[in-house]
Symmetry: C2
Subunit: 346 residues, 2 copies
């Protein structure tokens, strides 16, 4: 498999070595700073409530140092086109609220203790408050969208909202299911991650006044970037390219999440290897040794580099989607952001 992405990897790894100080994410932060200041102010004001627990919990999560990549993509997509109607700010804040609502519910569903290096909100305020504040953020997201009076963009994001939830149910149904196929996995990551990236970029383009081709290009860009992003995340959960063991290595394994590195290993491993994986899969008490044994199997079968190869395919597709658009600094930057997102795993 490595033949089909080595050239790409070499090229981006070379770029890292020669890299100037500013990463693509830094440059994106810089290019969107003015708009993001407005987005952040809107986020703070709409997380407010006369019910004290709501802003306490919402701000704890929202201010906990997430990258705000999705809303940045929305405002960047809007900037890419010339005819902005000003609604990108509302859509960007709505996208971030939708994302945070999902995180609150996911942490309850996954029984996660930590989020962004801090105790998850549910560990501080409880599962109940996390569910309800998630619902509140979703309601606020729709209110911000309604204010733009842009019914088409609202359609894009409400569809994304339903598909995301559906994808989470599908993932739940497949938890610990040893028969999960690579196609099932592709459907899960598309729904639970890529569709929100797609919608974030698409509504950004719409707010920027893109024509149909521009809107489609940005939607495709977001979808492929989201797929790449999730594949990298899932490889990172087992230590990334090199299978380097760290503090959180194997979280997905202990939660029984059927991600591509595991699905491929179950399909190709020996009976003994399959047993080793099956025993640890979905066992919250699986030991560090068990995780190390599983990572050794993934390494022998090269399922981590192959998962990253798949991420690279999607990353390239994201970059290609931009090629129908006129050359511009923002187009180049959005292309660079893709590379950065897959380099996390090295």
């Amino acid at each position: 498999m490595s033949a089909c992405w080595d050239g790409y990897t070499v090229s981006v790894l070379t770029q890292i070595k020669e890299a100037p100080a500013a990463t693509p994410i830094d440059r994106l932060l810089n290019a969107t700073a003015d708009d993001m200041a407005k987005v952040n102010a809107l986020i703070l004001s709409r997380a407010d409530s006369h019910v004290e627990m709501v802003p306490e919990l919402a701000r704890y999560l929202i201010e906990s140092g997430g990258k705000r990549l999705r809303p940045m993509l929305t405002v960047a997509a809007a900037q890419l086109f010339a005819n902005g109607n000003g609604s990108a700010i509302n859509f960007a804040a709505a996208v971030e609220f939708m994302h945070n609502a999902t995180l609150l519910h996911d942490d309850v569903v996954d029984e996660s203790d930590m989020r962004r290096g801090k105790p998850a909100a549910r560990m501080v305020w409880g599962n109940k408050a996390s569910i309800l504040v998630g619902d509140f953020l979703l309601g606020q997201a729709f209110m911000m969208m309604v204010e733009t009076r842009d019914i088409d963009s609202l359609g894009v994001l409400s569809a994304a909202s339903a598909v995301m939830a559906e994808g989470e149910v599908f993932q739940l149904a497949k938890t610990g299911d040893l028969t999960t196929s690579p196609e099932d996995y592709a459907a899960v990551i598309r729904a639970k991650t890529a569709v929100l990236f797609e919608a974030a970029c698409e509504v950004g383009a719409m707010a920027g006044g893109a024509d149909e081709a521009g809107r489609k290009a940005l939607a495709q860009y977001g979808l492929e970037l989201g797929n790449a992003f999730q594949l990298v995340d899932d490889a990172l959960d087992y230590g990334g390219q090199a299978g380097t063991l760290g503090k959180n290595t194997g979280d997905d394994l202990r939660e029984g999440k059927m991600t591509l590195p595991i699905i491929l290993a179950l399909a190709e491993g020996t009976e003994v290897e399959r047993d080793t994986i099956a025993k640890a899969l979905g066992d919250p008490e699986a030991t560090v040794e068990q995780v190390a044994d599983v990572v050794a199997i993934l390494t022998r079968l090269e399922t981590l580099p192959r998962t990253l190869a798949k991420a690279h395919e999607h990353a390239r597709a994201a970059q290609q989607a931009l090629e129908v658009l006129p050359v511009s600094d923002m187009r180049a930057l959005l292309s660079d952001v893709v590379e950065f997102s897959v380099l996390r795993a090295y």
Copy 2:
């Protein structure tokens, strides 16, 4: 307190004794049957998904014999006006999805075992699936609204969605809080129940082509009806007017819910009575004897009839809200529905 509602009660109790076969709810069912057939078909089709667990769980709840009062009010409100644009069907289905999404999340938050006489969905499919299918229904609700392209109605329902979640958080924060005031309680029931009745009636009126006065009248009608409805529910939880002990009597007590019968009793009871209530409040293991002791206190202090008196005030306000509208059969029926909703407690 009883002086201010006795006449009303006597009048409606007299009506019961002389009642013809068809209750107001039966007549409402009849008057909205054609539209509700479309609403029910839409509900079933939009609860579908390629992810099997979604329609299984959604239909289990949706088909479990709820009265569908909210969507009936939406289509009835639309019928009340002459210029329907056909979007009432979508809004009615969306309102029912929002309601069911709330029920799924509430049952997780309240750790309820039963719903509509059957095991709650969370007892069959688990808390995780209940959270996620609730999210799915909410996303589908917004998609149905978007299809109408009526951004103003979408605004009404998205605001309701945020306020409802906020009200649930407020109720959670007040759980077992002995200092909860009648004003806190009024805020909770307005947000968690009345606002959706208000929105259901308001968007119905809008879909029916109501003018501003008609829209406001129906919004007010729904709000007051919803308040009455919840007050009656909260009295029924302690056996209604007579404090009659039944199988589920005291569920709110065991969950620590600060409802008006309890709030008034805590404010007016003796120290011993307050202790008796405080000990049972929020204790899931509170015995039948403990519940009976609390109901005896509520009976001595007449907090159940006074809670119902408050329901009657709201019921009368709901009927008065309709009086700005031209006389019609549907207006009379909507007025009768109010009486029926408070008579449940007798």
